[in-house]
Symmetry: C2
Subunit: 353 residues, 2 copies
């Protein structure tokens, strides 16, 4: 799968026949029909995505992609741009929230540099996917070229497909990039037509004045670049980010390789929105791990009709919400695979059918 068109051509609908079989099995297990609610729906979804009759998410991979953003130099973040690179080192040393939560979930974290404005040499554990040294300042012109956007997507997809070939059963998305909530808000506003102030949040913790400035710069970025959202790829180039492009690739590759994709917070959600605008048929392969505090995330959830698994007022990114939600997917598989049926257990069925 070397071109975007080829990746997209591999995305098929979920297997409805296997999902019907899964429903029958769920209804035969020793519990009132449907009484495990969403957990049952998740089991059925995993069957439909993976085409496995008894699926196990035995190898889970979180793609935590890092990049810098030209807009950050306008002071739209509470943290200095240098923190992107510092946090990459924190990921590599295993001290960040995503490392801790991934260990809990028995997931691997693939940390990739998609465009940090720093050189990491051959830092052990870091995958270099560098598209540039940070995007250009989108408030003054396009964040990147169309070629770079495509390169980011294809590089992300290639990485994900390689992990699939090594046995990955679940993909999750994650991000790091000072300034990237500005890019995500701009993408959501451009792609959905939402007003900038309705999809712009406080990121890592700016104040009201900072927020007003952020909204103004996001609007300026959309206007100056003519990011009208009609062409998702062009919109990604104009107001997106390198790590977001990479995540678009992961999401499309997940759908193309029949891999469930667990979407993290706001940045990941923006990538999911771009991916589903490029290929709407990718949407059934996604589950939203949690609802971020960022207001734009709600808009994405509504737009893609994704109901978050968790609502914990998180706003960290990195893939933390996805890692936190993973045990729920494991539990769904376990229920499906391991529970006794009514006949196996000798339990009476319902009186009123």
């Amino acid at each position: 799968m070397n071109s975007l068109a080829e990746i997209i051509s591999h995305i098929e609908p979920l297997d409805q026949s296997l999902m019907d079989q899964a429903q029958q099995r769920l209804d035969s297990l020793t519990k009132p029909v449907g009484s495990l609610g969403r957990l049952e729906e998740l089991a059925k979804w995993i069957v439909g995505v993976t085409r496995q009759e008894r699926p196990l998410l035995s190898r889970k991979v979180i793609f935590t992609f890092a990049a810098d953003h030209g807009i950050a130099y306008e002071g739209v973040s509470a943290y200095p741009p240098a923190v992107t690179a510092q946090m990459v080192y924190n990921f590599l040393r295993g001290g960040a929230a995503i490392n801790v939560l991934a260990r809990q979930a028995k997931a691997e974290v693939i940390v990739a540099d998609f465009g940090v404005a720093a050189d990491f040499g051959d830092a052990p554990g870091l995958v270099s996917c560098k598209v540039g040294y940070g995007t250009a300042n989108m408030a003054k012109g396009p964040a990147m070229t169309a070629e770079q956007a495509l390169q980011g997507i294809l590089t992300g997809a290639k990485l994900a497909i390689a992990e699939k070939e090594k046995g990955a059963k679940l993909f999750a998305t994650g991000d790091m990039g000072i300034g990237n909530t500005s890019a995500a808000s701009a993408l959501v506003a451009a792609l959905t037509g939402a007003r900038e102030e309705d999809v712009t949040g406080f990121g890592t913790g700016i104040d009201d004045e900072g927020w007003q400035k952020k909204v103004r710069l996001i609007r300026q970025s959309i206007v100056i670049n003519g990011a009208d959202g009609k062409d998702p790829l062009a919109t990604l180039a104009k107001v997106g980010g390198f790590e977001i492009a990479g995540l678009v690739g992961v999401i499309l590759a997940g759908a193309a390789t029949r891999t469930p994709v667990l979407i993290d917070g706001f940045i990941s959600g923006a990538a999911a929105l771009v991916a589903c605008r490029i290929a709407p048929q990718a949407r059934p392969y996604l589950t939203l791990a949690h609802l971020s505090v960022e207001s734009g995330h709600q808009r994405i959830a509504r737009e893609l009709e994704l109901i978050p698994l968790l609502d914990f007022r998180m706003r960290l990114g990195e893939g933390t919400g996805a890692a936190l939600a993973m045990p729920i997917l494991d539990a769904a598989c376990a229920i499906f695979n391991d529970m006794a049926t009514f006949s196996e257990a000798g339990v009476s069925k319902k009186i009123i059918q």
Copy 2:
């Protein structure tokens, strides 16, 4: 702790000083302050409950208590009363949802007979705490005597304290008993003054006609027994259940032994409501694992000001929602114990403090 008064006398407020220290540590970790939202609050709560500076929920115990209900013979359930005993055997063989989910969460399930209308002999793995062979039909008179209610509570508490002495770090509640949503609805209506129809659900899956009959019988049970809710212990005796009494004991024992208590669904919630009416100081020791489909559960959550961790439209009981939520509590501890601080990781702090 041999009397209810003695158990209650051991319930102290959470340790605010340790919680303040926990907050300081949380704010020093490499993430924007508060950006892990509820996960941080859970970590702080576990510190405040356990008084451990680096808490680990290394041994988790789910108390799945079973009992029969006289009201079930009125036909308020979609399943025959015999299913209570059949499901106990399913628990003992490990084929039920709670077994599967407990294995996922690395938790133990203590299956105890608090009053099933059957003899289990010396079935391996079953703890006998029998208070009776099912309650009496509450639509015709009190479900049990005041002595039985107290016996149920003290037996549950004793079991929980014994598990604590064996190293349990977390208690979770669970239930099995055909007809027990009727008892739970009656308790909620009597204790909160809610209208019966507002706190009565469809249990394991009755139809509209069955629901109307159920509401009528619950109202009749409250009226005939004069269950006005002023005395929580008397109310429990009049319209409760043996397994609910046992769970009240677990909850009070959890608070008395500084053990976090994870409350499952509707039946467990009714037990929590009774426990907090007996001893309001027990309330801070509780977290609500999930929001049940049963309408009465929402009322309990509002009454106790408990925000559920999950909202998955579950309605199975057994402790399944609690087991599903356990990895979240483990994750909270891991974040708190294992993340790097800003100074350890050499990451720049916020520009605007």
